[in-house]
Symmetry: C2
Subunit: 316 residues, 2 copies
């Protein structure tokens, strides 16, 4: 049986900073990412790919807003589901092309993720989404649509939503069945479509689940061996931006927890990696897409320019 790796990829790996998000840009970036995923696959891994959707959901939210007087704007969780279709298709086509003749298949699954209504994040929405508004527009949207809107720097006002923790993956059985067929599975795009139990069963809710946390929850749910959190830099650093800055080849979950308590790492990646190991995973890796394969294969003492940062239960 091949081992299974869940790979989390930012939406800005598909629409890069400074790009506007044309199809040609997205397709070119997707092909580069797909080549890295296929390399992992060729090294004997089943792969589940969780993509972000920041730039893409942002563009769609602008379109929803611009045309709101002509066609009804749909809720954010619907717009999120649109990006799962669009980026799922984009990545499927890129993976099929890059893995031509070698893969048993590629499939993108529309994925819902349960969140807890009691999650404290709902008390304090902080995640900005969609276009900037004037103060007058902001006031009107807050009143008419019940949005939380805050001033966001000099560029104006923006909607903010909660960023709750993922509690469970609704489509986990389907994803597991597809992994067992050794297909590359694209799932839980944008961190998943957030749902919670309501009067009519599961109901969508406007929120943004961090895709690294969702990837961790999914990895634990399918008993994945490895979690790969793709980023722009080869390795995680200690004392980043100071003269003492140093790259980490490998750290134990205990050391990582200590460093988190010290406030060493910004962002969710080290936290997601630690949680993955604590819930029974073997290896978490934080690095660039092309270093994922070499990093997973590297023994504890084997680390070089081709590898990233490994987080493990106990250091080898």
């Amino acid at each position: 049986m091949p081992r299974t790796a869940v790979v989390a990829l930012g939406g800005n790996a598909i629409t890069r900073n400074g790009q506007s998000g044309t199809y040609e840009e997205q397709s070119r970036n997707a092909h580069a990412m797909a080549a890295a995923v296929c390399a992992l696959r060729d090294a004997g891994w089943n792969v589940v790919l969780v993509h972000g959707n920041g730039p893409q959901v942002g563009n769609l939210a602008i379109q929803q807003d611009e045309a709101a007087s002509i066609v009804p704007a749909l809720p954010l969780f619907c717009v999120n589901s649109m990006t799962q279709g669009q980026l799922g298709s984009l990545l499927s086509l890129a993976l099929l092309a890059e893995g031509r003749g070698r893969l048993p298949g590629v499939v993108s699954v529309v994925t819902h993720v349960m969140v807890d209504p009691a999650d404290p994040a709902f008390q304090r929405p902080t995640k900005p989404v969609g276009p900037f508004f004037t103060e007058a527009q902001a006031r009107e949207l807050a009143e008419n649509r019940g949005w939380d809107i805050v001033r966001d720097g000099d560029r104006g006002y923006r909607r903010v939503v909660a960023s709750p923790k993922p509690v469970g993956i609704v489509e986990v059985d389907a994803i597991r069945a597809l992994i067992e067929q050794h297909m590359i599975v694209v799932a839980a795009g944008g961190g998943g479509i957030p749902v919670m139990a309501g009067d009519r069963g599961l109901e969508g809710i406007d929120a943004v689940i961090d895709k690294d946390f969702t990837a961790q929850r999914l990895a634990a749910s399918v008993n994945a061996d490895a979690l790969v959190l793709v980023t722009d830099t080869a390795k995680v650093h200690l004392d980043f931006g100071t003269p003492q800055q140093r790259a980490i080849d490998e750290m134990s979950v205990d050391d990582a927890t200590k460093h988190l308590d010290e406030g060493q790492f910004l962002g969710p990646k080290v936290r997601a990696a630690v949680r993955f190991i604590k819930e029974g995973g073997r290896t978490a890796v934080i690095t660039t897409a092309d270093r994922a394969g070499p990093s997973l294969d590297a023994a504890g003492t084997h680390a070089d320019d081709r590898t990233g940062t490994r987080i493990v239960g106990v250091r080898a």
Copy 2:
């Protein structure tokens, strides 16, 4: 082993004529459809659901166009993939709610459908998509984006695209694996994302595949026992709109072919039904959603107000 039915549902079953397409409207309609699908499921059928997306892709195309000066408009096949995510999520949530406690699972699969570059439809694009334009806009879009644009009645100019026949379902292995898990599978929404072989593998192409023909192709590919083509009227009629008009309870594929040659039936449904039987399917049904189950269970001589039109190999 339960039998398998592929059910094709129009996009106007989700956004009805006269509705603007708000989330509340779409959700209410989806729940009604889901109840019918769950009834079929409770009668012992595996179900694959193929939905249309006419009104939804139309709204998205308007949004793409309205915001085109701010964010890049994506190609039609991308907009199609967005509706697979959005309607896949909508239908999944409705099916989970209506089938609460009874279903092993529901899953929506982003689905690509192969078309033939030599399909004669590409020589004569006829399917109108997206917003109406003025003559000046039409001229500019034809020149800058290479669109085929025609005058569409008094309301102005519209883009037209080809409507080629579906040749193969790219994700058929995944869909088959999920059927084997007895999950309700939502697949090939909007007739599927049209792709053809290009320099970089499968490439998306701006076209609209008829969802009834795609449902037939998918049904044949997964060896489904039945094809259900949902429509607004209980039964298909002969000599429709004349004093001789009469409803059909059951017809053989030979009679159906003869009536098609006489020009009796508009639209693709009878044609898709005939092709399904000719390719080895057992029963095709054309009727309303709530009559699907009773129609599939009805013997040849048993037909009443609860059943629709059955197309079979040889009449019972």
